[in-house]
């Protein structure tokens, strides 16, 4: 253990600290430098920003582009689309704000060297669908990371931030963050005037369908460990729509994307007997959600609902009809390159099982649930809206500032703004970056003070699992079973089982109720107690312990929110068996929560939904 005895404490001062160097974090870092020429801008990332975040593998499409220069869409259209897809509940002020800026972001990506596909007839970006444009995005992340590296004063790779720090004298004001280097074990204390949380959403909080080696092939990246939520939750930031988890209809086992298949290749689904099935469930769905089933496009959750009901009725598997489209060699190439560009694992599954979509219609499945703020769902922190038009109740400070002073967010972190995807997350990072610079400029010489007592206590807690393992290991001969400590994989699998069985995972067909949720909370409470007895054999496992800590806190938030909202707003994502219908009279609102880390209590409330476009 000599390595850990040599552990240093590294103090880093920054004007703006960006936590997480994915798409949102790179956008925040870039924009902070543009507006804050003399500021010290530090980006900290638990992996390496060259290939970190959800876009590490690449993308084959940019899913949020208006095309205003060609009159294709206006920001209002995107607000209507996202609102419709999320069954009426989005922060329209925030969504509009991203939509009005996102085209400039995409134009910059092209200038930086991202290969865009173009429509050979019009010369415009090649549309995959109304909002999506097609790219050769294998190097999307390295390109964006290059821009961020040029902008940052310093990038700290391989430092995992575990906790935020608040001001010694003013607990609702941010002052910095702490974490550790996963290679050296050095302890990092960041002191900052403003902090932008741009960390990842949550995979691996619900039990995945594959639980052997394949548990790594979750739809969302396994390194998206809910830090986007746990970091702000723990310092008392209000969260919104945490119940709004997402279930993805994807190609079986590899979770390969279906967007290009549906939209560009014009493939379609049918049941195991070759029949169209969605229309069969129209009346059934209408009885649950009313007129929402008549909207266009049909909300994604409702299409999931028809899929699930058809499979439950014994007519699975649902298949994608690819055989027709793949006779066209161009479409066949697009179909394969789509995977190789962003979900290589699906190509591997098909190669291994001899599935050539030219000859076989591949199976689809519905994934385990995920919690995130950037894709077609909108869990995250409650944030202040744009100054020029956000309603008073949505505006208490700088744009994208949470309910903790000086704490900003972007990407998966910010709630209420579905359908931002990669380009929108980078754009939201830019919005937060400019706002954070204004905040720091307005502070002038006020320097937030971190408490030495607090960060020393956190240091002890953060490294305790190494000590637990060192001591407990002597009790047993060999192996992984100890009466004194749990390894992080043990805790993760218990978390996933609790969430799966009690909070609406795959094994209950996404069904839960108040009794199940309350029992789930009891079990989560015991897991929370067991977290003080986690053991870590090395720094890698120590990273896994703190990822689990983040996942657990986010899971508790998800469960509390799910219990609070007494309706089934998004059938196909989850069901409250005790409240099976959508209830606009009582629940056309946002759910908000605030956690008190000292008492462990959660306070929940409703917030109004304001519509800004017709």
């Amino acid at each position: 253990m000599a390595l850990f005895q040599r552990r240093k404490t590294v103090l880093v001062d920054a004007d703006i600290l960006v936590i997480g160097g994915g798409m949102a974090g790179c956008g925040a870092t870039y924009e902070s430098r543009y507006w804050g020429r003399d500021l010290k801008i530090v980006c900290v990332e638990k992996a390496n920003i060259e290939r970190s975040g959800a876009v590490a593998q690449g993308l084959y499409a940019i899913n949020c582009y208006m095309g205003m220069q060609w009159g294709e869409n206006q920001p209002e259209d995107h607000v209507r689309y996202a609102r419709n897809d999320l069954m009426g509940l989005v922060r329209e002020d925030l969504g509009y704000d991203i939509a009005r800026h996102v085209d400039a972001t995409v134009h910059k990506f092209e200038e930086w060297g991202l290969p865009m596909m173009r429509d050979p007839e019009t010369g415009r970006y090649q549309r995959e669908g109304k909002w999506q444009i097609m790219i050769h995005g294998e190097s999307y992340k390295p390109i964006v990371a290059e821009a961020a590296r040029k902008a940052a004063t310093q990038v700290y790779n391989r430092v995992m931030v575990t906790h935020l720090l608040t001001d010694k004298a003013k607990p609702d004001r941010i002052a910095g963050a702490v974490g550790f280097n996963v290679r050296t074990g050095d302890y990092y204390v960041f002191r900052a005037k403003a902090v932008i949380v741009s960390a990842g959403g949550a995979s691996h909080i619900f039990k995945p369908r594959a639980v052997g080696e394949g548990m790594g092939r979750t739809w969302y990246a396994p390194w998206s460990s809910a830090s986007a939520y746990a970091l702000p939750i723990e310092v008392g930031a209000k969260m919104t729509q945490m119940e709004n988890r997402i279930v993805l209809t994807r190609f079986k086992d590899g979770y390969g994307p279906v967007g290009a298949y549906f939209l560009h290749l014009k493939t379609y689904t049918q049941n195991g007997y070759g029949e169209e099935y969605e229309s069969k469930w129209y009346d059934h769905t209408k009885a649950l959600v009313g007129d929402y089933i008549d909207r266009h496009p049909v909300p994604t959750c409702l299409r999931n609902h028809a899929f699930l009901e058809e499979v439950k009725a014994g007519r699975g598997p649902i298949r994608m009809v690819t055989k027709e489209a793949f006779q066209d060699p161009h479409k066949e190439t697009v179909g394969w390159e789509n995977f190789l560009g962003m979900t290589i694992g699906q190509a591997v599954v098909w190669a291994s099982q001899n599935i050539d979509p030219k000859h076989t219609n591949p199976e689809l499945t519905t994934s385990e649930p995920y919690v995130m703020g950037s894709h077609a769902t909108c869990s995250g922190a409650w944030a202040s809206g744009p100054e020029d038009y956000a309603p008073a109740e949505y505006q208490w400070g700088y744009n994208r500032m949470m309910t903790v002073d000086g704490l900003f967010g972007a990407g998966d972190t910010i709630g209420g703004t579905a359908h931002k995807f990669s380009s929108g997350s980078f754009t939201e990072g830019r919005i937060a970056g400019k706002a954070a610079v204004k905040y720091v400029n307005d502070l002038k010489n006020v320097q937030p003070q971190v408490s030495e007592q607090e960060y020393l206590a956190l240091e002890k807690a953060i490294f305790q699992p190494l000590e637990n393992y060192r001591v407990g290991r002597n009790e047993i001969v060999a192996g992984t079973v100890s009466p004194s400590y749990l390894l992080p994989i043990h805790g993760l699998q218990r978390l996933e089982k609790i969430m799966d069985e009690y909070v609406g995972g795959i094994s209950t067909n996404y069904m839960t109720n108040d009794v199940l949720l309350n029992r789930g909370l009891e079990l989560l409470g015991m897991l929370k107690e067991d977290m003080s007895r986690m053991g870590a054999e090395d720094l890698h496992q120590l990273q896994r312990v703190w990822e689990l800590h983040h996942r657990l806190l986010a899971s508790e938030s998800v469960t509390r929110h799910t219990l609070f909202r007494e309706e089934t707003r998004w059938p196909g994502y989850y069901y409250r068996g005790d409240h099976m219908k959508l209830d606009d009279a009582n629940w056309h609102c946002f759910t908000l929560s605030r956690y008190d880390r000292h008492s462990g209590q959660w306070a929940l409330e409703k917030a109004p939904v304001y519509h800004i476009v017709d």
Partner: protein, 154 residues
């Protein structure tokens, strides 16, 4: 896949350790070569495969659902600006694909500090860096009015 490393090709350079987003490529202390320490946290993102100068890293489909005999190889060439793929099915069929990865030289992106500094009055406006020019629309940055807000179901 998860990924694995061929003993005879790896020289222990650590590029894969440096790039892996999941922190699962580590150097084996006995053999001084890289290996995947946690295959069930591998997203098969191929970041390590692409980064390996010796082409020593490959992937074998997840044992839970991928029968043996397949292969998906990648060759990423920054100088040529391409990524090349070779898929081999279990039954021996092959497919090949090549895509561009970047249209500009690596390292050519300008720092935001190289652009003209924003004017003091720009801070109070809603425009971000490079706007409104980068939007490429005649009317400039779109905006809404606060009086458009309303509550209720729409």
């Amino acid at each position: 896949m998860p990924t694995f490393v061929y003993m005879t090709r790896c020289d222990g350079c650590g590029h894969c350790v440096d790039i892996c987003p999941s922190d699962i490529m580590h150097i084996d202390k006995t053999y001084r070569r890289a290996y995947n320490i946690e295959p069930n946290m591998c997203w098969e993102c191929y970041s390590c495969v692409k980064a390996c100068p010796q082409n020593a890293i490959d992937a074998r489909g997840y044992a839970d659902f991928a029968p043996l005999g397949h292969s998906v190889r990648a060759l990423r060439e920054e100088a040529k600006g391409t990524i090349s793929w070779r898929l081999k099915f279990r039954d021996g069929r092959e497919k090949h694909f090549v895509s561009p990865i970047r249209t500009t030289p690596w390292g050519s992106i300008k720092s935001p500090a190289e652009y003209a500094a924003p004017r003091p009055e720009d801070f109070a406006k809603q425009e971000l860096a490079h706007e409104p020019e980068a939007l490429n629309v005649p009317g400039g940055l779109p905006a809404l009015r606060p009086d458009q807000l309303k509550q209720g179901v729409v």
